[in-house]
């Protein structure tokens, strides 16, 4: 089995040195939107919005 071994050498990126990137991702609002595909299967888009950009729910 040699298939995966023929790859070109690659540069491996280091992990983010600080927690800034991760911290920002934690504060975002997770937004999901589910659609029904033509064949009946379900597909969900996941997006992340900055907290200040999130829609404010209207009061009942």
């Amino acid at each position: 089995m040699s298939e995966p071994l023929a790859a070109e050498p690659m540069v491996v990126p280091a992990p983010a040195p600080s927690g800034v990137d991760a911290t920002a991702a934690l504060s975002e609002i997770l937004v999901r939107r589910t659609v029904r595909l033509e064949d009946g299967r379900s597909l969900t888009y996941y997006d992340f919005e900055a907290a200040s950009d999130a829609p404010v729910p209207s009061e009942a």
Binding site: M1, S2, E3, P4, L5, A7, P9, M10, V11, V12, P13, A14, P15, A16, G19, D21, A22, T23, A24, A25, L26, E28, L30, R32, V35, L37, D39, R41, S42, L43, T44, Y45, Y46, D47, F48
Partner: protein
């Protein structure tokens, strides 16, 4: 055609899924079904022209709900059941090139949040007993589409590997009053020879009992039953340790390192035992850059693994990998 057939000798289910023989097999990059659909381009699995993360029902599922009626009749010796369940595909990125380990740490945090959402969503569906998150990477593992993605299965039963692990944890807890994985983590940290990466809240190590040369566990240092029990800081640290570990895998031989990655945790949110402890297990199939570790006669027929290497040596190799700045 899909159904569950009972294996009376092993006491476990086997799922048949003959339609999967026809699934997409190594398509060229410009016909990748997991890329977004370009304007005027051929329709992929994802109708929109861009996305962040996408989760969808597998087009060729091993299980589905409602499941088709089995086409074969069972009997007392050979029970048959519908192959109920859910099989989802998780797209990590709209870009065709890349990998889980190449995602920025922030996107790994977001992915962990997506995994958590699916864990809660699928685990709350009627009849589901275990949500199983995993990724197969590389053709050596049998990957048929290269676009970076993982999978999630929701089973209507707790699969035998998870069940056996839970039984061992329950026996340890009954004997000692402690969580088995907590004790393993404490022992590995005290010894130190098999550690690969240690973060504030997560640690990665090749376990004392590794069956594959580079088998690696990534474990919460605190006792956490599932993804849903993690704090924000812990999610962040899990992402960092995961990225570090995957960088070491790819850096070891400077090739995209094949692996199976599986997540073990409380099977669903409402089925939590004292020994359930969130962790990822990686089973890389390579023992050298040119040689695979085959699950041959002894492993497959006797269930006993022969590891040709020592975990202490392999962990040192991974620790020595220099990650490019």
């Amino acid at each position: 055609m899909s159904e569950r057939r009972w294996h009376p000798m092993l006491g476990e289910w086997v799922v048949t899924a003959t339609h999967r023989q026809d699934r997409t097999f190594l398509p060229p990059a410009d016909y990748c079904p997991l890329c977004p659909t370009s304007p005027g381009g051929f329709p992929t699995e994802v109708p929109e022209s861009d996305y962040r993360f996408v989760v969808f029902d597998n087009k060729f599922p091993s299980m589905r709900s409602p499941a088709p009626v089995p086409e074969v009749a069972g009997n007392d010796l050979h029970p048959v059941a519908p192959a109920d369940g859910h099989c989802e595909v998780v797209l990590y990125t709209p870009r065709h090139e890349g990998s889980l380990g190449a995602l920025p740490t922030g996107d790994l945090v977001r992915l962990i949040r997506v995994w958590t959402d699916r864990y809660l969503e699928l685990g709350a569906r009627p009849g589901m007993a275990c949500v199983f998150i995993f990724e197969n990477r590389g053709e050596a593992i049998g990957v048929t589409i290269h676009h970076p993605h993982g999978q999630i299965y929701a089973f209507p039963f707790v699969p035998p590997r998870v069940e056996r692990e839970r039984a061992q944890a329950a026996a340890h807890h009954a004997r000692t009053g402690r969580c088995l994985m907590c004790d393993i983590v404490a022992d590995e940290r005290a010894d130190g020879r098999r550690l690969v990466v240690e973060g504030e809240h997560f640690v990665a190590f090749i376990p004392f009992f590794a069956r594959y040369p580079y088998e690696t566990y990534l474990v919460s240092k605190q006792h956490r039953a599932s993804l849903a029990d993690l704090t924000g800081d812990e999610v962040s640290d899990m992402a960092r340790v995961l990225k570090d570990l995957l960088g070491r895998f790819d850096g070891l031989w400077q090739i995209p390192f094949p692996y199976m990655m599986v997540m073990h945790q409380a099977p669903v949110r409402t089925d939590k035992a004292p020994g359930d402890h969130l962790h990822l297990e990686f089973y890389p199939p390579m023992r050298t850059p040119q040689k695979l570790k085959f699950l041959a006669g002894c492993e497959s027929g006797a269930g006993t693994y022969i590891n040709d290497t020592l975990p202490e040596v392999k962990a040192a190799e991974l620790r020595a990998v220099r990650l490019e700045p």
